[in-house]
């Protein structure tokens, strides 16, 4: 009886395995990896990128896929942790992914660059630290591609706006010294301010996990700074904004991308969420956003945040690279990526530089938060970038 059962069980497993292979072979799927923080401290952004990528894939598949093959997104949770991200990437490579949608986390991008270079599966991310895409030897990291302005471009836009437009010359800086994203946004900003004749009144730091910044903010107040530059993630941005008010530091904040919506609603105090400047990837009024905006709102019942559009555009870039590279293998996607030119995405017109693997010519839209409301100030490009 036992032997009979065993034989039946063996046959059932064999049939199931063969059926699995047959199914996999007949489905004609192209695997696209997606590495995002789904359950860690930046999971709101990770989930937003994932949703944007899913919307793009659904749209491409609904239009017949790529040469009859359907795109399939396989998501790995990085938990905003470098080790988890490396494990996830290796798993995606062994599963046959031909490209990977990367996370908006520079620390992870830096760790992945050499690994992806060897594995040969390209990562299209929004990690803005330029070291992720350009190595120390000045050559591009073979498999790493950035699809929004680098931190150098971004921080120079913010620095130029601070000193050239707002006329603020005495800057207090507060940043997370353990975070590549924050450090990469701080250094070019400080260099630009100093080169333009400004002064860094006080440079204060904190480390990952810190929640109380009142001591640093009080020091910046004592130094007599006339604005505060704070480039970091949204949770710290909310804390700093509230604590700025609590310590009576009545100066404007010059912020990073994380001050974009839903930041102001999280502060929940219009008097605190006031006098803050930031540059966003796009204006919500721009027409190319509408289709994705409507799909997202219909599907999830809420307004999309900017990372949704970054996720959407990453898939558009991968599809374009497949066309330009002449096929859907990882090598062909990698070959096609630096050839992308004038691709209309939701966040702008994307052209990838073969020299830096970064986009060229992307401008930013300036915003000011006044009493909890976002006021658009128009696109801004520093004179230096126009040359």
């Amino acid at each position: 009886m036992k032997n009979g059962m065993g034989k039946w069980l063996f046959c059932a497993v064999l049939v199931a395995v063969l059926a699995g292979f047959a199914g996999a072979a007949s489905a004609k799927e192209i695997l696209i990896g997606n590495m995002q923080d789904i359950s860690g401290p930046t999971s709101v952004w990770g989930n937003a990128v994932t949703r944007g990528a899913e919307i793009a894939i659904e749209k491409i598949n609904a239009a017949g896929g790529i040469d009859g093959a359907m795109l399939k997104l396989v998501t790995m949770d990085t938990k905003a942790n470098v080790q988890e991200a490396i494990k996830g990437y290796n798993s995606l490579v062994s599963s046959g992914a031909v490209a990977v949608v990367g996370p908006p986390v520079s620390n992870i991008g830096l760790a992945l660059a050499p690994i992806a270079g060897k594995a040969g599966v390209p990562v299209v991310g929004s990690f803005i630290d330029p070291r992720v895409t350009v190595g120390e030897d000045g050559k591009p990291q073979a498999a790493m591609f950035l699809m929004q302005p680098s931190s150098v471009q971004y921080s120079e836009i913010m620095a130029s706006y601070t000193i050239d437009v707002l006329g603020l010359r005495k800057v207090g800086v507060l940043y997370d010294q353990s975070n590549a994203f924050a450090v990469s946004l701080m250094k070019p900003y400080v260099e630009y301010i100093k080169a333009a004749g400004g002064e860094i009144a006080s440079e204060q730091v904190y480390t990952k996990g810190d929640k109380d910044f009142k001591t640093q903010l009080a020091k910046i107040r004592e130094a007599g700074a006339d604005c505060l530059y704070f480039p970091n993630y949204i949770q710290e941005a909310v804390l700093v904004t509230n604590q700025r008010k609590q310590v009576g530091l009545d100066i404007p904040i010059i912020g990073g991308l994380d001050f974009a919506p839903p930041f102001a609603s999280l502060v929940n105090d219009p008097e605190a969420a006031d006098n803050i400047y930031l540059a966003n990837n796009f204006s919500e009024k721009e027409p190319q956003l509408k289709e994705v905006w409507d799909i997202y709102k219909g599907k999830y019942g809420e307004n999309p945040v900017n990372k949704v559009f970054l996720g959407y555009d990453k898939i558009l870039l991968i599809r374009e690279a497949m066309k330009l590279g002449g096929g859907t293998s990882a090598a062909q996607v990698m070959a096609g990526m630096p050839q992308v030119k004038d691709l209309q995405g939701t966040t702008g017109v994307l052209t990838i530089s073969p020299e830096t693997h970064q986009p060229v010519g992307l401008s930013m839209v300036m915003y000011k938060i006044e009493k909890g409301a976002y006021a658009e100030l128009g696109r801004y490009v520093p004179e230096k970038h126009k040359k």
């Binding site: 996990g209 929640k211 009142k214």
Partner: protein, 297 residues
């Protein structure tokens, strides 16, 4: 600046104090450090948020709303802690397991609770409604956050309430007796399951209150409860098992943190704090309050 630093340190210490007191209470009864408290704080912070969303439609007064949210979070903290006791600790207690198993079980429960919140709530940011129109008031010539002052006042109130329960009520007498010997307590006709559950529920209530303040001060995110580590450090400094030592240790830790941030910067501050802590524990391993500790898990 000195006054500002002291007040900031005390306010930060107040956050740690509420956590540390919960640690001390459970260490007294079960002789282990209950790391599930972090998970309880996270869940209660979200429970308080849900309550605030629901109750804000029915209550006009901010103070009444705040009190109701605090009560809802405290109640949910007590219930979750009771569930944790039933699921994670009761069987271990009945089989007279080593303290290290309690420790592992409590960490597992903490991770489980945190992950449940991650699954259900991590796709969006949440922020408590604004309960008070004034966010800071001048005191001794410096600005002090209203939530910080409330946190400090509440820590003191919670400590007094806890001492009242422990030293002026029959349940408190039972809990104190159970701290010495659970078996004798049973022989004397008391129900040890009830007493341990009550201790956990009191600790969960404190966790609920901490959760609301952490949520108000630091916004809501699934890893909110990881501040429990600072509460643990404070309770070690104060002397594991000592309730008033936990409060002193917490305030000391908060003040030290702020002063080191001010003097050597936030990067070096943790290094200095741990050096001071190691040096202190070398000199006085029993902590500030000097409670004799035989088992530290």
């Amino acid at each position: 600046m000195l006054v500002q630093n002291i007040l900031n340190g005390i306010s930060l210490g107040s956050v740690y104090a509420l956590i540390a007191v919960g640690f001390a209470l459970i260490f007294n009864v079960l002789k282990f450090s209950n790391f599930s408290q972090g998970g309880v704080m996270t869940v209660t912070a979200y429970a308080g948020y849900v309550a605030s969303r629901y109750l804000s439609e029915h209550l006009d007064s901010s103070l009444v709303l705040f009190s109701a949210v605090l009560a809802a979070a405290a109640l949910s903290g007590a219930l979750i802690a009771a569930a944790v006791e039933r699921l994670a600790f009761r069987r271990l207690r009945r089989t007279k397991s080593e303290p290290v198993y309690y420790f592992i079980s409590s960490i597992t429960m903490g991770i489980l609770l945190e992950n449940l919140i991650t699954i259900y709530a991590s796709s969006n940011f949440y922020s408590y409604p604004r309960f008070f129109t004034t966010s800071a008031v001048p005191l001794f010539g410096v600005n002090v956050a209203v939530t910080d002052m409330m946190m400090f006042a509440l820590s003191i109130t919670a400590l007094l309430a806890l001492l009242f329960i422990l030293y002026r009520t029959k349940i408190g007498l039972g809990i104190r007796a159970a701290c010495f010997d659970v078996n004798t307590v049973q022989l004397m006709g008391m129900n040890p399951d009830f007493l341990v559950t009550m201790a956990l529920m009191i600790s969960g209530t404190l966790g609920g209150v901490s959760g609301v303040f952490l949520g108000m001060n630091y916004t809501l995110y699934p890893q909110l409860g990881q501040m429990v580590v600072k509460g643990f450090v404070a309770s070690v400094l104060g002397g594991l098992g000592s309730i008033h030592g936990a409060v002193i240790g917490a305030v000391l830790l908060g003040v030290l943190e702020i002063f080191f941030i001010s003097w050597v910067g936030a990067g070096w501050a943790p290094v200095f704090i741990f050096v001071v802590m190691l040096a202190f524990l070398l000199v006085r391993p029993r902590g500030i309050a000097g409670v004799i500790v035989q088992e530290k898990a």
